[in-house]
Symmetry: C2
Subunit: 394 residues, 2 copies
Amino acid sequence: MLNKFPDDSVGLVEPQAIKFTEALPLACGRTLDQYTLMVETYGKLNTDRSNAILICHALSGHHHAAGYYEGDNKPGWWDSAIGPGKAVDTNKFFIVSLNNLGGCHGSSGPNQTDPQTGKPYGPDFPLMTVKDWVTSQARLADHLGINQWSAVIGGSLGGMQAMQWAITYPERLRHCMVIAAAPKLSAQNIAFNEVARQAISKDPHFYSGRYYDHNAVPKTGLMLARMVGHITYLSDDGMREKFGREMSAGKLMFDFNPQFEVESYLQYQGERFSTAFDANTYLLMTKALDYFDPAADFNHDLAKALEHVSAKFMLIAFTTDWRFSPERSREILDALVEAKKEVSYTEVDSPQGHDAFLIPIPRYMEIFNAYMSRIAADIPTETNTAGQEGYHAR
Amino acid sequence: MLNKFPDDSVGLVEPQAIKFTEALPLACGRTLDQYTLMVETYGKLNTDRSNAILICHALSGHHHAAGYYEGDNKPGWWDSAIGPGKAVDTNKFFIVSLNNLGGCHGSSGPNQTDPQTGKPYGPDFPLMTVKDWVTSQARLADHLGINQWSAVIGGSLGGMQAMQWAITYPERLRHCMVIAAAPKLSAQNIAFNEVARQAISKDPHFYSGRYYDHNAVPKTGLMLARMVGHITYLSDDGMREKFGREMSAGKLMFDFNPQFEVESYLQYQGERFSTAFDANTYLLMTKALDYFDPAADFNHDLAKALEHVSAKFMLIAFTTDWRFSPERSREILDALVEAKKEVSYTEVDSPQGHDAFLIPIPRYMEIFNAYMSRIAADIPTETNTAGQEGYHAR
């Protein structure tokens, strides 16, 4: 445990559970009559409520993006980018971060109690789409009194939510920052997700998703899912640099214990994840990824889908990302250009593959910072006195 | 069943089991006192026994490379390349194809009876290396009276065996054809193999490799292993062309049944494989891949490892192969050039990824044919009357 937080940390944070009672109709045809969103906020909302930023999380993310919990010495998942003086500067912005519906960190989801049965939802929790999430996030904005976000920002699946915001609620965000994302998954992306789903659903401890009732956890399935996922988050080059063919024993052992460093690493990552994440949520999140395809509603014409957006876009991609390669970000770029929208695009040179979006690579942070200054400058001037006497959501 | 075989087929073939009783010392430190190799041959050995070609198989391959079994309507796995008038021309060459030790198609391996116990070897069958295989193949050559191969040819793991032949027995082959291979696995390659191994060994029906005793098969593990493997055999582009985001139902179904075509395809491939292949063999084959690293004995200097080879090399790589990319073949090329060896290298443009090496792509077959003519021309002239009255191994 840390006695003192770093100077550029938002410090101690606490999540809040916000309950919504207005029914939420979903893409699948079902409705959530009531639901809870776990939310964290950092910084202060200004008087005009015009300096708010929404952070959307990726596949295994949650609301705890920055700062520390009491007793913890590990900060939130994007602490490198959020804090006083950091890219997403809490001295300038009021930042909202939530756990999406279907998540496993306190928002309504498979591992939470279904009020209608008093038991965990499990596989009865409806499958969600990126659009559903954006609708629920708009309700959250309403609840917080935020009519228009300064920016919606996300990486990977988070970037897809940012993009969907710009399409669904063009007037409700001034900037849209899409990092290491794609306009839709490729067959290969879907294939990797399907391996993960098969690993989980065929685990004998999955019990058709009702493992809570059996006091069981499909650990092996989750471990395998994470191992496959992890390979796609790293680059071939990055793995070569990080692990090469280094052997723990220094020589071939001719058994099936981990032999090469990369094997131990993956097993460790997989095992840690298997006790920390919910299997039904993992299935749901991968489906939301597979289903994301905003152009599908517009005759598969992405430029058409983006025709009415009014947000300015910032796209960032990483050279060795092969999960969502720069080529995929350029598809979004090309569509925005075709739709005659304002867009900036940067490709950051990095060996870290898809994972790069979470890593404070100096060049990435420079570009992130520069664009955030522009976003700050776009806060309507009469209210550009962030946090003086603003609403503090905690 | 076919009533008549195609004109360019070797026709009906039969495998033979060849028993070896001289003990075989292995890299792992153990010894196989006796062993059996399942072998097929095509074409006729000439009087001087100088027109022989060895075909080495890849991860899930076996001895049945060409022609048809009685009652079968599917030919061997490389029938597109082996036959009268084909690249590996049975009118010119005597072709030998075997199931490697540790395989599951009749050669001594985990699913065969251990003569010492009368039960299947299972996990007690020793782990094999590419070097061990090459030693066993040299014994096979001795048995067939073949002192020097016209060529040793293989794709993927088969190409690694060809390369090892040139290093271990420089005088015993005139040509070495290495297709879609690499001088050693990368950390990413090993990582994918480890996911496959974890999937198999953590399957509750694996019983520590003694599933034969339980009348069980670790089907789920094998299915997952094959699904992951299959993704790495295809290219991202190839999958996009083949499956795109096509949906079997034409719309999102919001359940976990296969939704996209690529999901059904992978499940089908995985399930078919899970009843056709042996789990212990799969583990052993992936380990042989991981362990292959001929430069390791030469201070990690591949040129040094190749210093004494006398075979002429032909290397072929495929543009969209990301399992063993052209870059990996060029590592072998560069080392051969540095070692001042005779080498040809071709990169074939193909969307099929690693799988391309098994597909009769016109340009690939042209190049293959041209090089095989050169190999045929290198058969010592006094014996260049293939098969007139030669030894016919069947």
